[in-house]
């Protein structure tokens, strides 16, 4: 098929493709039925650990039997969200004393993931590990090796891959609706000091690991890793180099970690991702923007829109579409299950996911554990995303352009 024929073919089929692409979401929306009880533990009961606990409570057939945190007040806070669970100060104690544990969720500070993940895998547990996978390339590679050496499931917590809105949007970017990608943009904006208070001064440093240059991978690593992964997944490629800059724009409190960073990630054939993260301003929050020659797709975690060019062909499914006005642009709201909801006259009710994206990532993990479904985000994919985040942080610190060495993606 020559290029013209291919384009004509895609133009004719894009409408059908879009409609079909809405259907797979139906399966993921159906509640998983666990035969259970599946015995679960969560290591790390800070903010993310508690969010995991809240979502785990929604699944029938699993039992949260153990929680672990070296910080006593956090452990207490976690235990208020998991009635009947036993608390432990160390993961070693948890693995030794919590019987018949099937799976462990790791939600500790990033630089502590490796040892816990390795020990849980060695003990034969299924592991869901939060992203970034680790704070150094060595640690990421070690986790990949440990996951490879066991028969248990290992899922990296890069949630975009399980998010129904991102899954739906990817079909538009991967088919001809967006056409040739011309630019990529992403940002993470939030106004916060990124400081965590400690009830006791002795815990101050441990709680504020994000501000410790010895272990932190900065905004580019902690936030960027998730967004770089979403972009890489959408474009089906990885950047070849990254350059960065960063500075302290607001939080002049003695910290060394930049509160505002910009990165440019270059892909093959000249495509570039412009990335900005700041904790000094919250305007427009988090988003990823994919601009193509026929449409732009904007994703903001729990919502997504497509903005069509005037010369883009009209698709049959657009009669169903809900639209939102953004200044001078009309955005078509991307709704998972849109075809079915439109048929039921309930399209408006479909705006907004019934659960947070974290729920779907956990659900995917449980499907892999109980039904043998392929892992949606493997340790290897977690390694690749983390390597790019870690190198982007290095580029921010040094101001250099850093080549992304593909050999780092391997864990021999």
């Amino acid at each position: 098929m020559n290029p013209t024929d291919r384009r004509t073919f895609l133009q004719h089929t894009a409408g059908t493709m879009a409609a079909i692409s809405l259907l797979p979401a139906l399966e993921s929306m159906a509640a998983i039925q666990l035969e259970g009880p599946l015995r679960i533990a969560v290591v790390g009961t800070g903010r993310q650990g508690r969010a995991i606990l809240a979502e785990l409570q929604k699944f029938n057939g699993l039992e949260i039997v153990a929680l672990c945190d070296s910080d006593e007040s956090r452990l207490r806070s976690g235990l208020r969200r998991a009635q009947g669970a036993e608390g432990f100060a160390t993961h070693a104690e948890l693995l030794e004393k919590a019987p018949d544990l099937a799976a462990v969720f790791v939600a500790t500070p990033t630089h502590l993931h490796r040892r816990i993940a390795e020990d849980c895998l060695a003990a034969g547990k299924h592991v869901y590990c939060e992203a970034p996978l680790a704070a150094s390339v060595d640690d990421c590679q070690a986790i990949v090796r440990a996951a490879r050496d066991t028969d248990t499931v290992f899922q990296t917590g890069l949630q975009s891959r399980s998010n129904p809105i991102y899954q739906l949007a990817r079909t538009f970017v991967r088919t001809d609706a967006v056409r040739d990608l011309v630019s990529l943009r992403a940002q993470y904006h939030r106004k916060t000091t990124w400081r965590t208070p400690a009830p006791d001064p002795s815990q101050e440093q441990a709680r504020n690991w994000r501000l410790n240059p010895d272990v932190s991978i900065g905004l580019a690593g902690e936030f960027g890793t998730h967004q770089f992964d979403a972009v890489n997944w959408f474009v089906n490629d990885y950047p070849v180099e990254v350059r960065g800059a960063g500075s302290i724009r607001l939080h002049n409190d003695g910290r060394k970690i930049a509160d505002t960073v910009q990165c440019t990630l270059s892909y093959n054939k000249g495509l570039q991702l412009q990335y900005e993260a700041t904790i000094a301003n919250s305007f427009q929050g988090r988003f990823e923007l994919f601009c193509g020659s026929m449409a732009a797709v904007k994703l903001s975690w729990t919502a997504g829109w497509m903005f069509k060019e005037a010369d883009a062909p009209t698709q049959g499914w657009e009669v169903y579409a809900m639209r939102e006005r953004f200044h001078s642009d009309d955005g078509i709201t991307l709704i998972a299950d849109a075809t079915q909801l439109a048929a039921q006259g309930k399209l408006k009710e479909g705006i907004g996911l019934p659960n947070p994206p974290l729920y779907y990532a956990i659900e995917d993990f449980l499907r892999s554990v109980t039904q043998g479904k392929p892992v949606v985000c493997t340790a290897e994919e977690g390694l690749r995303a983390a390597v790019i985040g870690i190198l982007a942080n290095q580029a921010v610190i040094t101001g250099d352009t850093i080549t992304i060495d593909r050999s780092l993606f391997k864990a021999e």
């Binding site: 809240a54 208020r80 969200r81 965590t196 907004g352 019934p354």
Partner: protein, 311 residues
């Protein structure tokens, strides 16, 4: 050193004023408290499809839904106030709010009234879980959400040794921690008029419900957002109800109940201090009820005091 922080949540603006010595510490603690408010919004919002409340409303009629301890305790408080207020407070008013047009298009208010009933909300203490006995039950936590969020934020502040702070959600619910230096408590005006009473708060909460709050116009009439769950009609017997309670969630629940009842005595019977005004005359101390009525300072009293001091 005073640190102010603010956030938008629950369709209103929350503000925190913290006093202390270490600005960096105060700001970090304040942000942790704001995180609690945001998390509470994510759990209890009726308008977020992915909230825990939406999950409860969608599933509790067919299965027990497990809760965290904080949310379970909140539902227990709601049940208790429902019983103590003679059903004047009821979080199952969501169908009524919808039918009256507060959440979009109007619907059948008669049918919606039949769907209201806290008795059909079952709580299992052992399982820390909730279930509905009927499939038409829908919960709206709008009457207690702000107070609950402030209580959780207040716990964070106290856990991190903040001893002097004032928190409010939309200015209608206030939580006071300690008192400003040299003062007996934080002073908060009740009502929109300059002549309204002033509440003096120290380690307690104040909630004010008023018929002047969120209103909609229907059939040429302006109606307030507080509905009487017993008859399905807008509560119009009182202009304002204010309650001082140990927690903001409790104050919120009771101020809603008292606006419906147009009477302060039921709150006084459970040991709370309250005032209910009808709007037909300036509020004075005779409208206050409860064990610590002197916590409300009235303009007439203040004027008399000032006159006495001048003399």
């Amino acid at each position: 050193m005073i640190v102010r922080l603010a956030t938008h949540a629950m369709r209103t603006r929350f503000e925190l004023v913290l006093a202390g010595e270490d600005e960096v510490h105060l700001r970090a603690v304040g942000e942790a408290a704001i995180d609690e408010i945001q998390e509470c919004d994510r759990r209890l919002s009726l308008f977020r499809t992915d909230s825990l409340l939406s999950h409860i409303n969608a599933h509790a009629a067919s299965e027990w839904v497990r809760l965290d301890e904080d949310t379970f305790e909140l539902f227990s408080t709601c049940q208790r106030v429902h019983a103590e207020s003679g059903s004047a407070f009821d979080v199952t008013v969501a169908p009524l709010m919808q039918a009256w047009g507060f959440h979009g298009e109007r619907g059948d208010t008669t049918a919606a009234r039949e769907a209201v009933g806290m008795e059909a909300v079952l709580l299992d203490n052992d399982r820390c879980a909730i279930r509905f006995a009927r499939d038409d039950i829908r919960i709206d936590m709008g009457a207690v959400g702000k107070g609950h969020a402030l209580d959780l934020a207040g716990t964070v502040l106290r856990d991190h040794t903040v001893t002097c702070a004032l928190l409010h959600g939309g200015t209608s619910t206030i939580l006071a921690i300690g008192a400003p230096p040299g003062e007996s408590g934080w002073r908060a005006s009740v009502g929109r008029d300059d002549g309204g009473p002033v509440a003096v708060l120290r380690d307690e909460a104040l909630s004010v419900s008023g018929s002047h709050g969120r209103v909609i116009e229907t059939d040429g009439k302006r109606i307030g957002h507080v509905l009487d769950p017993r008859n399905g009609e807008p509560a119009d017997g009182a202009a304002l109800a204010a309650v001082i309670a140990p927690s903001a969630g409790l104050a919120d629940a009771w101020s809603t109940a008292l606006l419906v009842l147009a009477d302060a005595q039921p709150a006084a019977h459970v040991g709370l201090t309250a005032i209910v005004t009808s709007g037909s005359r300036p509020p004075d101390s005779r409208l206050a009820a409860g064990p610590r009525r002197d916590q409300f300072e009235f303009q007439t009293t203040l004027a008399a005091t000032r006159n006495k001091e001048t003399a």
